[in-house]
Structures are given as structure tokens and as C-alpha cells.
Symmetry: C2
Subunit: 282 residues, 2 copies
């Protein structure tokens, strides 16, 4: 299993504070040590680093810690798996309609083991195919193949988000599917077990990380009109109002604000303990 972190904001923002706590889970406070990756949608393009090393040991993760890179959307992944192959490190990226899209996933799925007659295999690899051998990358390629088959040109965001919700629900039938997806303009989150978010905006307060001893005063580092939403597998701070995604909820943020939400009828919320237990047994 792995853990996810992401940020989407109105203005380019630095993920440094949240990353400091999250990074610790890659070898210090938790054992997601089989890879690390980060994707920044900067104002002039995508910057993406992947490493087969643990976040706590990775020179790239150290560079990330020392650099105040500002981006409107940032996605981070720490990996726990049976292998540490570089080709299996998240985030994954592909180009669609001339845009760079980035995907990162947490969960165990059964796509690779599905028979060739299964819908997910039958309709698969026309435009996109996985390079590594993870179910995660297969799921990303599946999403993109469906999109490109259905839409020759990029549809409007509302159509796109509704279509993506349907496809994520389909993928969720194949196992644990907590994912984050972005084209740099919007950030989509989908959960089948654990995914939380918090929106930071004026009046800004302070926050204290759970994993390491660090407190920040957001008022000192943000402008009054900043709006920043952070996603994480489990909350990174113990003094903010983190919202949980329901099982099979799909949510999209742009400019730090929610622009799409699809909540199942009678939404169900797992406790963190239940979610971690499911992950452990997967």
C-alpha cells in the first residue's frame, strides 16, 4: 500500500510544510519506503521527479525539501510494495489532447489477474499502454483510453468530471482505488477507503504536523486571497478541520475550491483504523 498527498491552489503555492510531515511516512513514522515521486504543475509546465528510493533517503526528496517550488497543483506519492522498480514509481504521466495529465494511486487491485475476456482487458490498449507492471498504471491507461475513445477533443470540465466519476466507479470494482488525478487546472480525488482534505483560506490559522515536530502560521506565509486545498491519505495535522471522502465519493477542486462532487446515496465513512486494516489485509 502507499500514501497520497496533493495540493491545489488559486495561486502557485509551496507544498513544503505538508511535504515535511508526509515525507516522514516514507521511512521514519511509517514504512512506505519502496519509491517516491512528486509532480508540480508550475506556471510554465510540468516538473515530475520519480525515485525508487524511500522519501526519507531519496536525494530528490531532499532537493524537494530544500526548494521552495511553487505550483498550482502538486501530487506526491510514497510507495509500499513488493518491488522498488523505477518503472513502477508514481506519479504516472501521459499526454492527452496536448495536455500533461498526472495520476497517482493507493490501493491493491486485481486488474492484471483479470481474464482477457474481462471488460477492463478487452477494451484496453489502443492509445495508451502501461510501461511498468502495476495495476495503478494500468488503471490510469484505462481511464485515458476511455477518454480518448469517447472524446476526440477535450470536452468541457463538467462533462469531463462526470465521465471520470463513472470511470472511477467502474475501476473501484477491481479493488481498493484511492486516486488523485490532475491536468494542472483541476485536481480530482476518488476514494474507496481513506482520503481526506482540508481547505486553508482567510482567516488563516496555525497548524501542527502529526508526523514531525513542526508548526506553521499560515497567515504569515499566505496572502489574504489565497485558497489552498490539501489532500492526504490520512490527516497531516492534528489541529485542522480535515474532511473525509465517503466510500466511492468523487470530488474535484480548481483554484483551491470545490467544483464537482459526486457523493453516493447513504454515504459511508470508514474509520482510519478500519481503512488501514483493509489496506493491511489487501
Amino acid at each position: 500500500m502507499c500514501q497520497l498527498l496533493a495540493m491545489n491552489s488559486k495561486h502557485p503555492a509551496d507544498i513544503g510544510f505538508s511535504f515535511a510531515g508526509f515525507r516522514a511516512r516514507g521511512g521514519l513514522t511509517d514504512d512506505h519506503i519502496d519509491g517516491f515521486g512528486i509532480a508540480y504543475f508550475e506556471p510554465t509546465g510540468l516538473r515530475l521527479y520519480c525515485d525508487d528510493k524511500a522519501a526519507m533517503d531519496s536525494p530528490l526528496a531532499e532537493l524537494v525539501s530544500q526548494t521552495r517550488t511553487k505550483a498550482t497543483t502538486t501530487l506526491v506519492h510514497i510507495r509500499k510494495s513488493d518491488d522498488d522498480l523505477l518503472s513502477n514509481a508514481h506519479p504516472f504521466t501521459r499526454e492527452i489532447w496536448g495536455e500533461a495529465w498526472v495520476f497517482t494511486h493507493n490501493g491493491k487491485m486485481t486488474i492484471k489477474d483479470a481474464p482477457d475476456s474481462d471488460p477492463i482487458k478487452k477494451e484496453s490498449a489502443h492509445y495508451y499502454a502501461p510501461i511498468g507492471d502495476t495495476d495503478s498504471e494500468f488503471a490510469f491507461c484505462y481511464l485515458l483510453n476511455r477518454l480518448k475513445e469517447r472524446f476526440e477533443y477535450k470536452p468541457d470540465d463538467q462533462t469531463l468530471h462526470a465521465f471520470l466519476t463513472t470511470q472511477c466507479r467502474f475501476l473501484a470494482d477491481y479493488g481498493l482505488f484511492n486516486c488523485l488525478l490532475s491536468n494542472g487546472e483541476w485536481l480530482l480525488g476518488y476514494a474507496t477507503t481513506l482520503l481526506f482534505y482540508v481547505t486553508r483560506q482567510a482567516p488563516f490559522g496555525t497548524a501542527t504536523l502529526i508526523d514531525i515536530n513542526k508548526t506553521i502560521d499560515f497567515a504569515a506565509v499566505n496572502d489574504a486571497d489565497d485558497i489552498i486545498t490539501v489532500f492526504a491519505t490520512t490527516p497531516l495535522t492534528d489541529d485542522e478541520d480535515w474532511q473525509q471522502l465517503a466510500v466511492n465519493e468523487c470530488i474535484v477542486f480548481a483554484n483551491g475550491q470545490r467544483v464537482h462532487q459526486n457523493l453516493p446515496p447513504a454515504p459511508e465513512y470508514l474509520s482510519i483504523e478500519e481503512g488501514l486494516e483493509i489496506a493491511k489485509n489487501a
Copy 2:
């Protein structure tokens, strides 16, 4: 204009020595300061970094200098352009037939200005489209679109290299087209002005960089059966036997050795001065 560097070898090898000299051209001995990028095909996957900063200033380039990363194929680019957009930084990558391919280019082309009725525009964007706005990325997407249209599955290498030679010749009609292309197994070089290579193998000698004060004894760092070929826009050392590609020559290396060569009848070789002058006036 930009400059290119690449290495292809029988066993994973460290590009550090060649990179030390090449990096200097990104702000110290030359002015290719509008971006830097490197792609390593490591044994377990592709590692790719792009930066909008000059190689001499880039923290990523510094990390590359300090890390002895070993790869069977490595491609490096230093950029000189009118912009320093991250989305325009080389090397570019796309997935085709489940493989990561990497492309880097030096030269000024006229693809973007071509009318929509031009063959290069008419047949363009079905599978792949550029994300940034360089002719270089457009040319890469053009190559991949032709490949994917022509071959549903990856053909044998001989067929592939012959097809790529033809497509490179076609692209060379649109301006200066010095490029390097790799899928990690082989490394293709095509030149319309300047591109040189040297093969280092037993008995290994010493080499001295032109751009900085550094000498290496290859016998001390290589095994007897190592074979390593290095490409560069102009030679990096002044005491090795660099071979020049003829105008419109296409050459492919695998395991450090030449596996394909297509030389025009009556091959023409530009002097370095002529080549640099053409680049300057482009």
C-alpha cells in the same frame, strides 16, 4: 540553438565525466542557458529530469553531478532559445507500445509556420500532440504518430530503424534537424549539421575534457568488456578519435556498438565552424 549529449553502453555506465564538460556549455564556456534536461534509462526504468534553469545553475544538474547514476542509455540537452518555459525543456518523452521513448533535438525548424495543408500538419495529431510550443516536440510527435499508424505492434529493430531513417529525412526538409532518440535499448542519432560520437572500449586510454580542466583514465573505471559510445554536438575531449556524422546520416547504437547506419551517397561533412555559423544564422 541547443547542444546534445548522449551515451549508450553494453553495461550500465555513469555519464559523469562527459557531463562535467558538457554542463560547462550551459553557462560557463557557452551560452545554452535556457533549460537543461537529462533522461537515464536505468535497469529498472526511466528517470527523467527537466529544468528551466541553466545547467550551471540548476539544482537538478548539481544533483546529477553529485550522483553516480548508471544507465545503459542517457540523453542530455542544454537549451538556447527565446524562452525558458519548463514545458519546452528537453528531453521529451512519450509511451509507445508500452515503452518509454525519449527524444532530444538541436536545430531550428519551420514546422509551426507551415500551412495547415502541408503534409506535416495534415497528418499530425491522432495519437500524440505536443504539450509545449517547440518545433522539436512537434517533430517527436510526428515521428510517433507515423510509427503508431504504420505499426500496430512494435516491429523488429531493422524495420524500425529503416522507417525512422526515412521519417528523419522527411523532417530534415523542415530545417536543422540534429536529434537523438532512444527507447532504452538502442540510441539513434541523426544529423543535418553537427553531431559527433566516440566509442570507448579496451584497450582503454585516457581522455581530457575541452571545456574544463579534467582528465580521466578509462582503464581505471571500466571493465575489460565495457563498450561505451558517447554522442555530442561537438567533441568533448581533445585527445580521442571522434567520428562525425555526415549531413543526413542516420546511425543507431545498441550495447555501445553500431547496429544501423544509413549514409547518403557522396556524404558531406561540415566543419565545426560551418556548423556553428549555420546554427547562429538559423
